[in-house]
């Protein structure tokens, strides 16, 4: 098993604030890798660095042998990294099907001119996109809702649709930013099972930020812990559970 994603010594400063400083870790292909840490530890900033929304102040990010830092977000997405957002960012006024099709569109091959003149290759590509996107929605149990507006879906289904949309990119790595946020414990247990299914069904490596410890400990093969923009620990769930620095970061150090 090799490293699919390598974050090497990455820093990101916003003015004087060191949101991420000299952070490094690697994600093994096929793993579910968790990122945990208190609020403001820099977890989402890290995702935004990996997906190109921010550029690192220094350091390198390498995905499947290619440098990602400095690339546009769309290029990074097309290299095989899908993501969801902490505050769901669906295309709310578009239908469920259109949401998925937009992500699937990167795999369609026709030029603007072919589109403007509606030449045959465009028609074939479009028909294929409708069929594949509908099949994906069926697999996610959203088939019956494909003509509803994404913004009209209940919260839990919006989260699910966001994952479906990311999967439509056909990614090798899926970044999930707090997928269980706002879910109760029963729903979280179901989500854990669901993510296991996604991982094997679509052969995708998971990198997830999460606060629900049940989900993280139950799902992840490896965990990286951040605090104040720095990596303070890394290891298997068992190692992390017993790590003194992690407990300090979450609960505060004993004053002796």
């Amino acid at each position: 098993m090799s490293a699919l994603l390598e974050v090497r010594n990455v820093s990101r400063h916003f003015g004087g604030l060191k949101a991420i400083s000299e952070c490094g870790f690697s994600v093994t292909e096929g793993h579910a890798h968790g990122i945990i840490g208190p609020n403001g530890a820099g977890k989402t900033t890290l995702f935004n660095l990996i997906t190109g929304i921010y550029k690192p102040t220094s350091g390198e990010i390498v995905f499947a042998g290619d440098r990602l830092d400095g690339l546009r977000p769309s290029r990074i997405a097309l290299k095989g990294i899908g993501r969801t957002f902490q505050n769901i960012r669906l295309f709310k006024q578009l239908t469920v099907l259109e949401n998925v099709r937009i992500a699937y569109d990167s795999q369609l091959h026709y030029s603007p001119l072919e589109a403007l003149l509606t030449l045959p290759r465009m028609g074939r590509n479009e028909a294929e996109s409708i069929a594949k996107s509908s099949a994906l929605l069926e697999a996610f149990g959203l088939g019956a809702l494909s003509e509803s507006l994404a913004g009209d879906l209940p919260y839990g289904l919006q989260r699910k649709l966001e994952i479906a949309r990311a999967i439509a990119l056909n990614p090798r790595l899926l970044l999930l930013d707090e997928p269980a946020a706002g879910l109760n414990s029963g729903e979280t247990a179901a989500l854990t099972e669901f993510l296991r299914w996604v991982r094997t069904e679509y052969k995708v490596t998971l990198l997830l930020i999460e606060h629900h410890m049940h989900l993280v400990m139950g799902l992840c093969d490896r965990i990286t812990v951040l605090d104040f923009g720095q990596k303070i620990a890394e290891g298997t769930p068992e190692e992390i559970r017993g790590n003194k620095r992690v407990i300090e970061a979450y609960l505060g150090a004993d004053e002796e």
């Binding site: 997906t51 929304i53 546009r72 977000p73 769309s74 997405a77 097309l78 899908g82 993501r83 957002f85 960012r89 669906l90 295309f91 709310k92 006024q93 578009l94 259109e98 099709r101 937009i102 992500a103 569109d105 990167s106 369609l108 026709y110 603007p112 589109a115 403007l116 003149l117 509606t118 465009m122 028609g123 590509n125 479009e126 028909a127 996109s129 409708i130 003509e147 949309r165 990311a166 990119l169």
Partner: protein, 326 residues
């Protein structure tokens, strides 16, 4: 009223209705001027409706579907008008009437080039800032034209041949709507809608935001240029101040009246606006009170316009219409 709505719904769903209507419309557009079936003024108004449909549909692509705010479309229009007039007046004065499509296309291409450059330069700006850039563009085009003696400076160009007929106007309306429909229901159209909804999410889903914006601006500017070329060869006289901010405002009214994000809305807006503004001519100065008032009321009570983000089945490609039925 309900019976009428039902009738229109049935008509909209009928697959043969549109081609038949188009054929009848085209024949009429040839026959009416030939036999003088309508008086000259009515013919003029009908051609203006056609030109305004092209304008509102083209502006709707940027302001409605992509959710940006361009006030510079009169600039694209004037580039199309001047480029085509230079061809028919100065470079190809002996052009046969049947080749009128040529200067119109050149006018469209010149405008599209300007749209391309504008989108390229302003790619990172959004919202208010983009609106200001398009306003600056409009002013630059106007003052540039005023200072080029070759095209008559501030006095403008005279003696442009009257080549815009009802048939040509009808032809270009059909081309505009057809091309825009094809674009909107393609991956590029979905990319444009995704940018409107959430640019960051679009980017992260592999949408090439820069390319999509450039495409939208270029296509939109092309058709604004086409409308400009048609207008120049209808009025047979143009000057830089015919394409000022008021002209852009007219287009905005049409788009926001008919409905953003809707081809049917663009057509509806252009028809209502053209008829209304011709009717209001009789009211003299009051026109300048009534028109803005309509815009204010519209923004207050129906900000997305009459058709806002709704479409008639006619303007959907077959595969989309079929899917929506099932």
């Amino acid at each position: 009223m309900a019976a009428m709505a039902a009738f229109f719904k049935k008509l909209g769903a009928n697959r043969y209705a549109l081609p038949v209507l188009l054929a009848v419309g085209f024949v009429l557009s040839l026959v009416i001027p030939q036999y003088g079936l309508l008086n000259g003024y009515v013919q003029f108004v009908l051609i203006m409706i056609g030109i305004n449909i092209i304008l509102s549909a083209s502006l709707n692509l940027v302001n409605g579907y992509m959710g940006e705010f361009s006030v510079g479309h009169a600039g694209f229009m004037s580039l199309g008008a001047y480029a085509s007039a230079v061809l028919t007046v100065k470079l190809l004065p002996d052009l046969p009437d049947a080749f009128f499509f040529l200067p119109v296309i050149v006018g469209g291409l010149v405008a599209a080039l300007a749209g391309f450059l504008l989108a390229l330069l302003s790619f990172k700006t959004r919202g208010d800032y983009l609106a200001i850039i398009t306003l600056a563009f409009l002013m630059i085009v106007k003052s540039a034209l005023e200072n080029i003696p070759y095209v008559g400076g501030p006095r403008g160009m005279l003696g442009i041949p009257k080549l815009t007929t009802m048939a040509w106007a009808f032809f270009w309306v059909v081309v505009t709507i057809w091309v825009l429909r094809n674009l909107l229901y393609s991956k590029f159209g979905r990319a444009i809608a995704a940018i409107r909804e959430d640019e960051i999410a679009a980017n992260s889903m592999g949408v090439r935001v820069r390319e999509a914006k450039i495409l939208a601006f270029s296509v939109s500017a092309f058709f604004a240029g086409v409308a400009g070329a048609l207008l120049a060869h209808l009025l047979v006289f143009i000057n830089p101040s015919s394409f000022d901010i008021l002209k852009s405002t007219e287009m905005l009214v049409m788009v926001y009246l008919g409905g953003i994000g809707s081809l049917a809305g663009s057509i509806l807006g252009a028809v209502i606006y053209t008829l209304l503004s011709n009717w209001l001519q009789d009211f003299g100065t009051w026109r300048m009170v009534i028109m803005p008032l309509i815009l204010v009321l519209l923004m207050l009570f129906r900000p997305k316009g009459i058709m806002g983000f709704r479409e008639l089945p006619w303007f959907l490609p077959k595969r989309e219409a079929r899917r929506k039925d099932s």
